[in-house]
C-alpha cells in the first residue's frame, strides 16, 4: 500500500504492507532510531512517539494508520538544539543506559505542553507507562519538575 507519512515535518512516501507496524517502519524505512524496540506489546513505553502531539505506543500502531497524521520523535524535538527539558535531563543525570530516554522525553514533552507546571503526582502519572531499568525514576521526575518550575518562572 502507498503510505504518505509526515515524520518530524518531513514527508515520506512509502510502500508498506498492512501488517507492517509503525515502530518497525520508523526505524527501518524512515531511519528514525530513537523509538526503541522493547516489549513490543504496549507495556514498556520505549517505543513512544507523538502522533498529533499525543504520546502513543508505536509498537501498537499499524503503519497504515498513520496516514495523514503528524509524527514526532526525539529526532524532531532536538533537531536544531536540545529542548529545555532535554538539557534538564542532562543536568539532573536522569539517564544511565538511556534506552528509556526517547520515550520518557516524549511522554514528558506531551505532559508539559498540556500542563506547563505539573505536580509530582502529574509527572508520575504521565510517566507511569514508561519503564526505566536503571535510574529508579527519581532523577527523571526531578528533571520534569524542574522544567515545570522554569515554565512557572517564565510566566510569572
Amino acid at each position: 500500500m502507498e503510505l504518505s507519512l509526515n515524520v518530524n515535518n518531513e514527508e515520506w512516501a512509502l510502500d508498506v504492507a498492512p501488517a507492517d507496524v509503525l515502530l518497525d517502519v520508523l526505524r527501518e524505512r524512515v531511519g528514525t532510531k530513537s523509538p526503541k524496540i522493547g516489549c513490543e506489546r504496549g507495556d514498556c513505553g520505549s517505543c513512544t512517539i507523538l502522533i498529533d502531539g499525543r504520546s502513543v505506543r508505536s509498537c501498537l500502531v499499524l503503519a497504515v494508520e498513520a496516514e495523514g497524521h503528524e509524527i514526532t520523535t526525539v529526532e524532531g524535538i532536538g533537531a536544531d538544539h536540545l529542548s529545555e527539558l532535554q538539557n534538564l535531563f542532562i543536568s539532573n543525570n536522569s539517564f544511565q543506559c538511556g534506552f528509556c530516554a526517547p520515550g520518557i522525553v516524549l511522554s514528558a514533552t506531551e505532559l508539559l505542553a498540556r500542563n506547563p507546571s505539573p505536580s509530582r503526582h502529574d509527572v508520575q502519572e504521565a510517566l507511569s507507562g514508561n519503564l526505566c531499568r536503571c535510574t529508579g525514576y527519581e532523577p527523571i521526575i526531578e528533571a520534569v519538575l524542574a522544567a515545570g518550575e522554569r515554565n512557572e518562572e517564565v510566566s510569572a
Binding site: P18, A19, D43, S55, R57, L60, E65, A126, N130
Partner: protein, 293 residues
C-alpha cells in the same frame, strides 16, 4: 513484527463499513485504537483476513449530552473521557475508571467501546457501564439495533456483536447518583485489574453493583443489588451484601493473584465502595479519583 498478512480497509461512512463487512466472507476484525488488536495480531491470538479501520468514519468520536442521556461514540478514547467536562459533571465514574486504565500512551489511543468489544475479563469499562444502565448501539446489514450492556458480554473475548456489525455508540441513562470504581492492581501504570467493582447508588436506595476480573466476563451482581434494594445503607445491610460476594463471583488463581485473595478483596472493596458511593450521593465523600484501596 506481525507474522501473517491481512488486507486493510479504511471506510469513510458507516454504510461503506457494513458493506465491506457483509461482502467479506473470511474473518474480519474491526480496528479502532488498536491497543488490544495489534498486540493480538502480533501474538497470533487472532489472524483475520481483513482489518477494517473505523477511524476515518466521521461522527463516532463525539460525547453528547441529550437530556438525561449521555451518548459516547465508539471512537471516544479514555483520554477524551478524562478531558471531558460533560463527563466530569454527569458521569464522573467514567473518569474514575478511565484514570486507572494503563497509562497516557495507551489511554490516548484506546477507546472505551474497544474495551468492551475486546471483552477480556479485566475489562475496566464493563462494571462501570453496567452500573450506569448502558445501552450499546450497533449497525449492521439489517439496520440499527441496540443491546443492553447486561446482555453484551457472552464469554471470554466474546460479545453480542456479530461479525458484520459495528458499534456506533453507547447511551448511558443519567440520573443523580453517587458511585465508585474500585480497582485492585499490583501497581499503577500498565497492570491489569486483579479484581474490580463498579457501584452506583441512585436516590430511593436503588443500587447497581458489578464486578470485573473475577469471572470470564464483567458481571452484574443481581443478588447483591436485590438485598440492598430499598434499604438505606447501614452496617448490617452492608454486611448482608458483603456476605453474598462469594456467590456472585468465580475468581481464578493466576500470576496476578490467587482466587482467595481476589474474593477477600472483593468483599473489602464492596464494603468500602458502598460507603463511599453513599457519601458521594450526598455530595460528600472522597473526591472522584481518590483510591479507596
Amino acid at each position: 513484527m506481525i507474522a501473517h498478512e491481512f488486507a486493510y480497509e479504511r471506510p469513510t461512512t458507516l454504510e461503506e463499513a457494513t458493506r465491506v463487512l457483509t461482502e467479506h466472507s473470511g474473518s474480519v476484525r474491526l480496528l479502532a485504537g488498536g491497543t488490544d488488536l495489534v498486540a493480538w495480531l502480533r501474538d497470533d491470538a487472532v489472524a483475520p483476513d481483513l482489518v477494517v479501520d473505523i477511524k476515518a468514519i466521521p461522527g463516532l468520536d463525539t460525547i453528547e449530552l441529550d437530556g438525561d442521556e449521555l451518548h459516547v461514540g465508539s471512537l471516544v478514547t479514555f483520554t477524551d473521557l478524562i478531558e471531558s467536562e460533560v463527563v466530569a459533571e454527569h458521569a464522573p465514574l467514567l473518569i474514575e475508571m478511565a484514570e486507572t486504565v494503563a497509562s497516557p500512551g495507551i489511554r490516548n489511543r484506546a477507546t472505551m467501546v474497544g474495551n468492551i468489544c475486546s471483552a477480556v475479563p479485566s475489562c475496566d469499562a464493563g462494571p462501570v457501564l453496567m452500573a450506569y444502565d448502558t445501552t450499546v448501539h450497533l449497525i449492521g446489514p439489517g439496520g440499527a439495533r441496540s443491546v443492553s450492556i447486561d446482555d453484551w458480554f457472552i464469554g471470554l473475548r466474546e460479545t453480542a456483536c456479530s461479525d458484520d456489525e459495528v458499534v456506533t455508540h453507547l447511551t448511558l441513562a443519567l440520573r443523580p447518583h453517587g458511585g465508585v470504581y474500585v480497582k485492585l492492581m499490583r501497581y499503577g501504570g500498565e497492570d491489569l485489574a486483579q479484581a474490580a467493582v463498579g457501584i452506583v447508588e441512585y436516590p430511593g436506595h436503588e443500587y447497581r453493583v458489578a464486578f470485573g476480573a473475577v469471572a470470564p466476563t464483567p458481571i452484574r451482581a443481581h443478588r447483591i443489588e436485590e438485598v440492598l434494594r430499598g434499604k438505606p445503607l447501614g452496617e448490617e445491610v452492608i454486611a448482608d451484601a458483603v456476605a453474598l460476594v462469594r456467590d456472585e463471583i468465580s475468581p481464578i488463581t493466576d500470576m496476578r493473584a490467587t482466587a482467595e485473595y481476589r474474593a477477600r478483596m472483593c468483599e473489602v472493596m464492596l464494603e468500602r465502595g458502598l460507603a463511599a458511593s453513599h457519601e458521594r450521593l450526598e455530595g460528600a465523600g472522597p473526591a472522584y479519583g481518590t483510591r479507596l484501596i
